[in-house]
Amino acid sequence: MNTPLIRLSGVGRKKGAFTLHADAEFGSGVHLLTGRVGSGKTTLGEILAGIVEPDFGTIQCTGERRVMLLQDTSYHISTMTVEEEAGSWHGDAGNIIRIAGLCGKEHADLFTLSRGEVRRLELAAILSGSYDLIVLDEPWAGLDEEARRWVRKLIDTHAHAIIVIISHDITSLPRIDQLWEMDDGVLRQLGPVPACLESWTRAPPLIRYLIGRGEVPSGLSREELEEAVCRIHG
C-alpha cells in the first residue's frame, strides 16, 4: 500500500475579488485547517477533494484517490430511507447504521430524522469506508457530545489516510498532527502539533488562555486540552 500524498504546486482559484493560493504537501495523518469565515477553507477542501478544479497550478496525488467531502452547507441524500441511504455507500449498511446509532430507524424516512441524525449517518458512512483522503468540512456541526466522541474515535482508526478537518470548533478534535491556516486566501502551514502551538498567533481563546498561564497543551485533542486545563484547575 502506497502512503498517500497530495502535493499542490502554485494552485490557485479566483472567485470575484477573492483569490486562493496554495503551495503545500499533505501526507498521511490528521490535518487541521483553520482560518476566518470566508478565508477560503471550504474552497481549498473542494480542490483537495477534486470537486473543484483550480484555475492554475498543479495537483499531484499518490495513492488510490478515493476522496470524500462532507460539505457544511448541505446534506447528501440520494434515497428515501435510512437503510437505502446506508446501502448507497461503499461498505456494510448494517454496520453504518449501527455506528450512526440509528438501529431501529432503518425504515425511517430520512426527512423525519433530526439534522444531527442525518449528519451522523453521513459521517458513519464516510469514516467506516476505506478512503485515502477524507476532507471533513465542519464535521461537528449539529453533532451532540456522544456523536463527537465516536467521530473522534473513528478518525483515530484511520492510520494511513490523509484526513483534513476544517473547523472553528476546537473542543471536539481528535489527535491532530499538522496545523494549517487560511489567511485571506493564502494557505500557510503552521507546523506539527504541539510544537507550533506557541507561535500560533491567531490561536482560539482557549489556547491563548492556556499558553498565557504557561500550560502549553500536549496536543489539540479534547483529552489533551482538558488535561492542560486540569493542570491549572486541578
Binding site: L113, G142, E145, V229
Partner: protein, 233 residues
C-alpha cells in the same frame, strides 16, 4: 416570562417550564427536541395540548426573529437591502422609517457595504450577518438562534454576542453544541427525549456540576474574561 404549561407537541412533553427575560441556551443530544422546542416558542408549531405564553401573549401574535443553521434556505428577496427591509415593509412602516432602520441596523452589524449586493454570492459569514440583521430589525420580542454558530469563528461569534447584548431584545433563545457558547447565557435548559431534564440558572454559581472543565459555561466565562476583547482578537 415565557411560560410553558402542560405542553405536548411533537416529541415534546413539558409539564411546566418558565424562561426569564434574558438569554437562554438549549442543550441536549441529537433528536432530543431542541428545534421542536424553538418552533413551539416561536409559534411555528402550535402545541397539541397545553399553552405557551410570552409575557401573557400567544407566540403567534408576538414578533419573533429566527436565524437557522443554513440561512440561505430562508431568503425571501434577491437584494440584501430588501431582505432587511422585508420585515418592516410587511407591517406597513413608512418608507422613510424603513430606510432609516435598514441603515441603522446594517451599520450596527457592520454590513452597510453589503446593502446593494445580491443575496446570491454572499459568503457564508456574510449570509449569517444578513439573516441576523433581518431577524433583529423589527425589534422582535423573541429572537431564536438555531445552531447559528455551527460555522462561525470566534471573532464572529463575539461580534454577534455583543450585538445581542446591545440590542435589548427581551428574550433570546439559542441552541448550540459548543460549550464555549453557553458562556453568554443567563440560563440553560437541557432536553432529552422530548423532556426538560435540567434547568439551570447561570447568573450565579451554585455548585452545578459538569462532566469536565471544557463542558462548563463557568470555565468558558473565565477563559473569555481573562483575554482582551472577551477572547476576540
Amino acid at each position: 416570562m415565557i411560560e410553558i404549561r402542560s405542553v405536548r407537541a411533537g416529541i415534546l412533553s413539558i409539564p411546566s417550564c418558565s424562561i426569564r427575560p434574558g438569554i437562554c441556551a438549549i442543550a441536549g443530544p441529537n433528536g432530543a427536541g431542541k428545534t421542536t422546542f424553538l418552533k413551539l416558542l416561536s409559534g411555528i408549531l402550535p402545541p397539541v395540548s397545553g399553552t405557551v405564553r410570552i409575557d401573557g401573549k400567544e407566540p403567534s401574535v408576538c414578533t419573533v426573529g429566527w436565524v437557522g443553521e443554513y440561512p440561505d434556505r430562508n431568503i425571501l428577496f434577491p437584494r440584501v437591502y430588501d431582505e432587511l427591509a422585508g420585515p418592516l415593509r410587511f407591517t406597513w412602516q413608512p418608507c422613510e422609517t424603513v430606510d432609516q432602520r435598514v441603515r441603522t441596523c446594517a451599520d450596527d452589524l457592520g454590513i452597510t457595504h453589503l446593502l446593494d449586493r445580491d443575496m446570491h454570492g454572499l459568503s457564508g459569514g456574510e449570509l449569517i450577518l444578513v439573516a441576523f440583521a433581518a431577524a433583529c430589525i423589527a425589534s422582535p420580542d423573541l429572537l431564536i438562534l438555531d445552531e447559528t454558530d455551527s460555522h462561525l469563528d470566534e471573532r464572529f461569534c463575539h461580534h454577534l454576542e455583543e450585538y445581542i447584548r446591545r440590542s435589548g431584545i427581551r428574550y433570546v433563545v439559542f441552541t448550540t453544541h459548543r460549550p464555549e457558547r453557553m458562556a453568554i447565557a443567563d440560563e440553560m435548559i437541557r432536553l432529552a427525549r422530548g423532556e426538560v431534564v435540567d434547568h439551570l440558572s447561570l447568573t450565579e454559581e451554585s455548585g452545578q456540576s459538569f462532566p469536565d472543565h471544557l463542558s462548563s459555561p463557568w470555565f468558558w466565562r473565565e477563559v473569555l474574561s481573562s483575554l482582551p476583547e472577551g477572547g476576540a482578537e
